[in-house]
């Protein structure tokens, strides 16, 4: 499995570390909404299909990425820098 890093090009998966589902949203840190925290900490959509997930190119440029990968085939549909993707999402929200 190769992940195309926007800085470094396609690199072997063993250069990256996985940081899980990127669709979770953390409640406000001051929030006391137990249900929202429970959902954030424990629950996952766990789709069989395209999955938005964090990877870090820890053995390379060390950039944090958001990768959209099909969990059935490992086909990679999209790779973006996490910061840029998160900022975009923030603007839209």
């Amino acid at each position: 499995m190769l992940i195309p890093c926007p800085h470094c090009g396609p690199r072997e998966v063993s250069e990256f570390s996985y940081q899980g589902d990127a669709t979770r949203t953390c409640p406000e840190l001051t929030s006391t909404d137990v249900k929202a925290w429970y959902d954030y900490v424990y629950n996952r959509p766990n789709p069989a299909g395209p999955h938005r997930e964090y990877w870090q190119h820890s053995g390379g440029c060390r950039a944090h990425l958001i990768v959209t990968r099909d969990t059935r085939t490992h086909e990679i549909h999209d790779v973006a820098f996490a910061r840029a993707a998160l900022n975009r999402a923030g603007e839209q929200a």
């Binding site: 499995m1 072997e12 998966v13 063993s14 996985y18 899980g20 589902d21 137990v34 249900k35 429970y38 959902d39 900490v41 424990y42 629950n43 996952r44 959509p45 766990n46 789709p47 069989a48 999955h51 997930e53 990968r69 969990t71 059935r72 085939t73 490992h74």
Partner: protein, 419 residues
């Protein structure tokens, strides 16, 4: 009554092995049952068996999308143990070991349960303390944890690298003598045959594609072979739990699906007489009765529904193997494969009524659901029949995550990687 014997073997050899009685029927699904169990793996089959045997509920179907035993029940490294730290885990898994001890008789089917022992190697004083504490916890609950010194390990498992300048020097090990291995296929076949003999319909090549509901209540399933209604619908689909729950409208759940690989080498003469695990990384290994070394390590590490793994993990597992047993470096691998596992967020299973009315759920088996097969089937059948949990599965609720009552053996916090 014995169904397989030396005489039967001989007789059938003379008639070209054409006259063996089918181990289980191939029935057409009926339109309705008292209970439909989704998933013909070890847990689904065991559940159906105990429903019939313990509770007299025989109007039951097990619905399996592939062939019987095509999931993780036929893909695991067959280790059975109850060497846990927390009382809830020890009680549940020790109950399972006790059921294993009588399983071949119970099913009249040789599941080849072999109590050859599981030895966890410790590689640092800190790890030794942790293992000894776990051994004491087991003994406290009436179990069998035995601490072995390096010399005792040298006598028991001569192949292990015990040299003081090994990369991860061995300081001792925790042995559970009653633990061991079993023949995984035979467990599926034995439960299937025994359930079938009680009248349970085992329906293979029948995929559940959705749920029927009246209001909030789940009243049946749609399948590739038509609609099937039931008073109670029980899910035992391992790595496909989230997929099935999504069909029922539950799109977030404390489980991730990950792939775990396993490996078997060419056959060699007897090398190890117990299961050995390597504490310098994560590796477990035993030798099958045919002589092959059967072993596995960590998850590939990212969400996966592909029933096969990638190469970096293969390399890691092989390097751990040769660190532990340098002599096997030149052995050839025969096969490797992967299975999709239901990784819960605290490393412990969920066996419960719900989450929707009419539904019952068995899931979250992480690395280790094979050893649980008898206890899981027994306690799940109890829960389905009585509408409340058996004392052994009462702690393994779904609500425990929200209540902060997790059963986290490692004390590591929420992650879908625990074993």
């Amino acid at each position: 009554m014995v169904e397989y014997s030396a005489l039967a073997l001989l007789k059938n050899a003379f008639t070209g092995n054409r006259d063996w009685k089918q181990a289980w029927r191939k029935p057409e699904p009926k339109p309705a049952y008292d209970v439909v169990v989704i998933g013909g793996g070890g847990h689904g089959l065991a559940t159906a068996y105990y429903l019939a045997k313990e509770h007299g509920i025989t109007n039951v179907a097990v619905i399996e999308k592939g062939w019987l035993g095509s999931g993780n029940i036929g893909r695991n490294t067959t280790i059975v143990r109850s060497n846990y730290l927390l009382p809830d885990s020890i009680r549940f898994y020790d109950f399972s070991v006790r059921l294993w001890e009588n399983l071949s008789h119970e099913l009249n089917y040789n599941v080849m349960f072999s109590q050859r022992g599981v030895l966890n190697l410790a590689h640092s004083p800190g790890q030794a303390d942790e293992y000894i504490r776990r051994g004491n916890a087991m003994r406290h609950e009436g179990g069998d944890g035995v601490w072995l010194s390096r010399d005792e390990i040298a006598r028991k498992v001569p192949g292990v690298d015990l040299s003081p300048n090994a990369r991860f020097p061995v300081v001792g090990g925790l042995l559970q003598p009653r633990a061991g291995t079993a023949r995984h296929d035979a467990v599926a076949w034995g439960y299937a045959r025994a359930a079938d003999r009680h009248g349970v319909d085992i329906v293979e090549n029948c995929e559940v594609t959705g749920f029927l509901r009246e209001g909030d209540i789940i009243t049946g399933v749609t399948t590739t072979r038509g609609e099937i209604r039931a008073k109670k619908i029980a899910l035992a689909v391992a790595g496909n739990t989230s997929r099935l729950l999504q069909m029922a409208g539950i799109d977030r759940f404390p489980i991730e699906s990950h792939v775990l690989q396993a490996f078997v080498s060419e056959s060699i003469k007897p090398l190890v007489n117990c299961v050995v695990t390597f504490g310098g990384g994560h590796l477990y290994m035993s030798q099958s009765d045919k002589g092959g070394l059967v072993f596995g390590g960590d998850l590939d590490g990212y969400n996966s529904y592909a029933q096969r793994g990638n190469l970096p993990l293969v390399e890691e597992v092989m390097s751990e193997m040769t660190a532990m047993f340098p002599a096997v470096a030149r052995l050839r691998l025969l096969r490797s494969w992967g299975g999709v596992m239901d990784m819960s967020m605290d490393g412990s299973p969920i066996i419960t009524k719900g989450p929707l009315p009419g539904m019952y759920l068995n899931s979250g088996w992480c690395y280790g659901g094979f050893k649980a097969t008898p206890a899981s089937g027994f306690s799940f059948a109890w829960t389905i029949a009585k509408g409340e949990p058996h004392k052994t599965n009462a702690p393994f609720t779904l609500s425990r995550f929200e209540r902060g009552n997790v059963i986290d053996e490692k004390g590591q916090g929420p992650t879908p990687k625990l074993h």
